[in-house]
């Protein structure tokens, strides 16, 4: 892999950016889980939280 490709990949897989995305997904899932308005949001909350949590675990191994 050329140095340029490695650099562009490093730029794309930055930990901070992806951690923020995972954080927003988890928080959104928690709000969906506990909100009193729509049962359908509650139904899909676990999938959202799980996705966010798995994403968080993966991206926390990305370079700074």
């Amino acid at each position: 892999m050329s140095e340029n490709t490695t650099l562009s990949l490093r730029r794309y897989f930055r930990r901070n950016f992806w951690e923020w995305i995972a954080t927003v997904i988890i928080l959104f899932g928690v709000v969906m889980l506990m909100q009193p308005f729509l049962l359908v949001l509650y139904t899909y909350s676990f999938v959202v939280i799980l996705t966010g949590t798995v994403l968080f675990i993966i991206v926390s191994h990305f370079p700074e």
Partner: protein
């Protein structure tokens, strides 16, 4: 006697006390092997009491297992338990009750805890006595607290009702904190706040006492107002402590069980039935073990996800 000589003395007395066969065996081991020798029992204990039950619960959540009919065996039913839990309106309502409890207890405990810590940090006469007195509720067992608050909330003889009546002029027996569907959710919030505000206060007090005086002196020299000092020095330096306290309390309150069972047992009706009480009912009253395992895993993943965010936020605050 100097410090190294004391350590040498302890080491030599320990060496003398070690039986010769053990000493011979240990002498042949590398440092790494000795480290593993010490760590292994803890790892085994953790595997036995934490990891194994977790894996077993995950496995049970995909089955129709009932613990009261263990002889019937279990059948793999895929994600059906998760589908049922996530479509169950009763569980949804219990999670809303948990959210109400969590939000209000955290808000009140942070405000009161920080306020008390702020006051106790002023070195007034008798502040040690007041600190000890305020810490007392935290040291009591939740079962004891639940029991005596039931007496305090008693409409005929309860002190709480009389205090409220004194300030509002209402008849003390005209309202029931634990029996009224509108008041019962607030009654558990009050008791938890009473019990755990000292914990937040203690951690905030540690944070406040860790701020060196010279920072405030420098701010005084720069003519910073008290208000500015509070927001630019006190709050940022106490924030890591406060966040840690909130993390611990939020996770504990998300799992809250004993105090609420003792106070209301989820009633009247199910207005104080928190997620953990609902989970216990599903697991040990209705004996739907597979179903309740799926519910437990959902709660676990939620707490785990939020704890991850919190640790990230805590690190960010510490680095600032």
């Amino acid at each position: 006697m100097s410090r190294p000589s004391i350590l040498q003395k302890i080491a030599s007395s320990a060496a003398v006390a070690t039986p010769a066969p053990v000493a011979r065996q240990v002498r042949g081991l590398s440092d790494r092997a000795i480290a593993w020798l010490f760590v292994t029992p803890t790892i085994l204990l953790l595997l036995a009491i934490n990891i194994f039950p977790l894996i077993w619960t995950i496995q049970l959540s995909f089955t129709n297992y009932k613990a009261n009919r263990a002889a019937r065996g279990e059948k793999f039913i895929g994600l059906r338990n998760y589908e049922r839990v996530l479509g169950d309106a009763d569980i949804w309502i219990s999670l809303q009750t948990t959210a109400h409890f969590l939000i209000w207890t955290m808000l009140l405990q942070v405000l009161l805890g920080f306020g008390l810590a702020w006051l106790l940090n002023k070195q007034f006469k008798g502040h040690s006595f007041w600190t000890t007195l305020i810490l007392l509720p935290m040291m009591l067992s939740p079962a004891v607290v639940g029991n005596f608050w039931r007496f305090l909330y008693q409409p005929q003889i309860g002190l709480f009702n009389y205090i409220i009546a004194f300030f509002t002029g209402a008849d003390p027996s005209s309202f029931q904190m634990l029996g009224d569907v509108n008041l019962a959710p607030w009654s558990i919030v009050i008791v938890d706040t009473w019990m755990w505000t000292p914990y937040i206060m203690l951690i905030c007090l540690a944070g406040l006492r860790s701020i060196p005086d010279y920072i405030y002196e420098a701010a005084e020299v720069d003519r910073a107002s008290k208000w500015r000092q509070f927001w630019s020095i006190t709050v940022p330096m106490v924030l890591p402590f406060l966040m840690l306290a909130v993390l611990f309390r939020a996770i504990e309150n998300f799992k809250m069980f004993d105090l609420v069972v003792e106070l209301t047992n989820g009633g009247p009706g199910s207005v104080t039935e928190l997620a953990s009480i609902n989970l216990k009912r599903e697991a040990f009253e209705k004996w739907r073990t597979g179903y309740s395992s799926a519910f437990a895993i959902i709660l676990f993943v939620t707490v785990f996800g939020v704890a991850n965010i919190y640790v990230k936020a805590l690190n960010a605050v510490k680095q600032r």
